[in-house]
């Protein structure tokens, strides 16, 4: 296994993107990385999408207002700002800034825009990227840490800009634009047989009124398409720059690791820089000299005799924990065999959730806790060995 040198990444990266499937602890990881970088002396902002209430509060985030606010209690000379993404207002700002004068209000009021800005598949991802490129533009920060939206697939984040661009360049949009562009009569000339079938069917299905709304909406948006497309492309390019690093987060579970594997492969295909994989909520045991088999056998013996119920219960617990640790190590090993060379770091499972700076600091320290010795199941030389401890 290659150990993930997170402090190296934190010291040099300009953008860190935390990604992974839902529920693996992306937001906490992003916050912990940002805090660590700030306490190492950098000017950092963390862009979170949907933080847990108490975690948000601990960083002083009380409202969703799209404004980076300083986090209090950061040690050292660095600074940490945090903000929550407000998708709708980010989209509204985009329209206001890029639409032709006088057209913005019409777009903002159109029912299609209103639905699009709140529920278009990928809007959240695109807006996160948009915000990222805005923050980058300000030059206020040495490092921007981005948490990605909770999606069914981590890949959605990478696909969002292309999906939007594909939509804008699609034939459908061109057809809807045609009447507005060419004016009534000229439009008729370009109406081919198949196109007239098409518009007839469309009118029949959605009705002439809706077709008109839609056409007006697309025409109004069209005035800002140029800007949109360019920005989508430049944000995407930003992710390929040397200063960008992706941190893929997973839990040691089958589905989460499978999702992480897809993402790692995709990053490689896109030539996007991967810092490494964080395996979150790993169960370990500090007990030396007591194998799970031995624990369970001993517990059974005590239970049969009815003596020392406390020891029997504790032995059962230890057996459970070792079994879980072994299963997790097995899943992680499978990932590593398929993706050799991907640096990995583990973060131990905590009994409770992290919701203060001390908790984030502790996670940050674990993320930076390098070396194979931090990891059960590996010798310093990187050779896998069985995770279980020697029996007594």
């Amino acid at each position: 296994m290659t150990a993930l040198d997170i402090d190296q990444t934190l010291a040099t990266a300009k953008i860190i993107v935390c990604t992974g499937s839902g529920g693996v602890g992306k937001t906490t990881t992003a916050a912990a990385l940002a805090l660590r970088a700030a306490e190492n002396g950098r000017r950092v902002v963390v862009l979170t999408i949907d933080p847990a209430r108490r975690l948000a509060q601990s960083m002083g985030l009380t409202e969703l207002d799209n404004t980076p606010r300083p986090v209090k209690g950061v040690r050292g000379d660095g600074t940490l700002d945090a903000m929550m993404l407000d998708m709708k207002s980010t989209f509204d700002e985009l329209v206001t800034n890029h639409a032709e004068p006088g057209k913005a209000d019409a777009i903002l009021a159109n029912p299609f825009y209103q639905a699009l800005s709140s529920s278009f598949a990928g809007t959240q991802e695109y807006m996160a990227m948009e915000k990222l490129s805005q923050l980058r533009g300000t030059q206020d920060y040495d490092l921007i840490v981005v948490d990605t939206p909770p999606t069914r697939s981590a890949l959605d984040f990478l696909d969002a800009p292309q999906n939007l661009t594909a939509f804008l360049d699609g034939r459908m949009v061109k057809i809807l634009l045609a009447p507005a562009k060419a004016g009534g009569r000229a439009y008729l000339r370009v109406v081919t047989a198949s196109l007239s079938v098409f518009t007839n069917v469309l009118t029949r299905i959605i009705g002439a009124d809706v077709l008109k709304d839609l056409s007006q909406f697309v025409a109004a948006l069209e005035t800002m398409f140029g800007g949109f497309r360019e920005r989508a492309q430049s944000t995407y390019d930003l992710l390929k720059e040397p200063g960008t690093s992706f941190v893929v987060v997973a839990t040691p579970e089958r589905d989460a690791l499978r999702e992480a594997a897809y993402f790692v492969e995709r990053l490689a295909a896109e030539k996007m820089p991967l810092a490494g994989l964080v395996v979150n909520r790993v169960h370990r045991s500090a007990v030396v000299g007591l194998s799970p088999e031995r624990s369970v056998a001993a517990a059974q013996g005590l239970e049969a005799s009815g003596e020392h119920p406390l020891a029997a219960a504790v032995l059962r617990l230890h057996g459970d924990r070792e079994a879980l640790a072994a299963r997790e190590a097995n899943l992680q090993e499978r990932f590593e065999r398929a993706h050799p060379g991907v640096p990995v770091v583990q973060v131990a499972a905590q009994p409770g959730d992290v919701h203060d700076l001390d908790g984030l600091r502790a996670v940050g320290a674990e993320l930076a806790n390098l070396g194979a010795s931090a990891r059960p199941g590996q010798d310093a030389g990187g050779q896998p060995r069985p995770v279980r401890t020697k029996g007594v």
């Binding site: 839902g22 529920g23 693996v24 949907d50 847990a52 209430r53 299609f112 639905a115 699009l116 529920s119 278009f120 069914r152 999906n163 939509f167 699609g170 034939r171 459908m172 949009v173 198949s194 079938v197 098409f198 069917v201 469309l202 029949r204 299905i205 959605i206 009705g207 809706v210 709304d213 839990t251 579970e253 989460a256 500090a286 007990v287 030396v288 000299g289 007591l290 031995r294 001993a298 013996g301 005590l302 020392h308 119920p309 406390l310 020891a311 029997a312 219960a313 504790v314 032995l315 617990l317 230890h318 459970d320 924990r321 079994a323 879980l324 299963r327 009994p351 409770g352 919701h355 007594v392």
Partner: protein, 328 residues
């Protein structure tokens, strides 16, 4: 007697990572037990059902994936928005999927547009297909005794189910509007129950409570809460308290270990006590989660954390547990 006798559509949602696909599959098996026929559907294109039942990816076709105890059958369907749209055009406009008008729509990108871009439209199509399967019958005999939907996660569930709102601003004419309204009528009726899957952890519990409030605010019937991944408390209540206070009786623990023939030392005793502390903290956290969920007054069902990743055998165990607890 099961807790949801009149319900024909079981919608299963939950925060990402809580195991909602597993619970949806287990519930389908539980409902199919004793000669019933149940349709298990997914709508997010993840092929989660195929992975769960270890079958090749599901086509857009109702396909038998499992049997249930007592000659029951679970049929699966991965609803694909594009196919659902073609179905819809066929049903309401008599457009054959292979005819010129449908091909023209496809060539012009209208199918893509409607299924990936037009907001709300996609959800109307997906939910419309679920509704069709739920009410489908032959001479009054329903095709399926129940339909289970592996639905989008809690963060999106209220919006997903509340399609009439999404569509009202966009489609002003029938049959799209009529279709959305009839789907909504089914969702709001006693024939539907929205179940929420959670873990006894802070964030999933909070999201569950938020989802209950959101669903109730739009008059959608919340069914039960399924608590997944429940661990068995190993320690007695008194020992849990001492473990949490880091005041476990080290002498007794040591004596017990020695009594079991283990070569015990100080480090072993203290690291085992630390594991007991973690466990006690976890149990306390779970208790707090349970209390918070109890405030919703919804029926709740607990599923054990399985020692290994959920395989087919595990699914049947979970299904049995749901039946024993009266969910099905």
């Amino acid at each position: 007697m099961a807790d949801f006798p009149g319900v024909r559509l079981h919608v299963v949602s939950g925060k990402g990572g809580t195991g909602k696909t597993t619970v949806a599959a287990a519930l389908a098996i539980a409902l199919a037990t004793d000669g019933k026929r149940v349709l298990l559907t997914e709508v997010e294109g993840r092929q989660g059902i195929a992975q769960m039942f270890d079958t090749p990816p599901l086509p857009y076709e109702e396909r038998s994936v499992a049997v249930a105890p007592g000659h029951g059958e679970v049929v699966a369907l991965a609803v694909d928005p594009e196919q659902a749209l073609l179905d819809y055009l066929h049903m309401f406009y008599k457009l054959s999927p292979t005819g010129i008008p449908a091909r023209s729509l496809r060539r012009m990108g209208a199918i893509d547009f409607a299924t990936t871009v037009a907001p709300g439209m996609r959800d109307v199509l997906l939910t419309g297909k679920i509704k069709e399967a739920t009410v489908r019958n032959k001479a009054g005999t329903p095709t399926y005794d129940a339909v289970v939907m592996d639905a989008p996660p809690t963060g999106r569930i209220a919006r997903f189910l509340n399609i009439s709102h999404e569509v009202s601003g966009l489609a002003k004419v029938d049959p799209i509007k009529g279709q959305a309204d009839s789907v909504m009528a089914l969702f709001r009726s006693p024939l539907t129950a929205v179940h929420l899957v959670t873990l006894l952890e802070e964030m999933p519990v909070q999201e569950t409570l938020d989802a209950v409030a959101e669903l109730r605010a739009i008059d959608l019937p919340v069914g039960g809460i399924v608590v997944n991944g429940v661990r068995t408390p190993r320690l007695s209540p008194a020992d849990l308290v001492s473990a949490q206070n880091r005041a476990l009786d080290g002498g007794e623990l040591r004596a017990g270990l020695a009594g079991a023939g283990i070569a015990v030392n100080d480090a072993m005793v203290s690291s085992l006590a630390a594991e007991a502390y973690d466990h006690a903290e976890r149990v306390a956290l779970e208790e707090r989660g349970r209390d918070a969920l109890a405030a919703t007054d919804l029926p709740s069902y607990e599923l054990p954390l399985l020692p290994d990743a959920v395989d087919l055998g595990g699914l049947y165990r979970l299904a049995e547990s749901l039946r024993e607890q009266g969910m099905a």
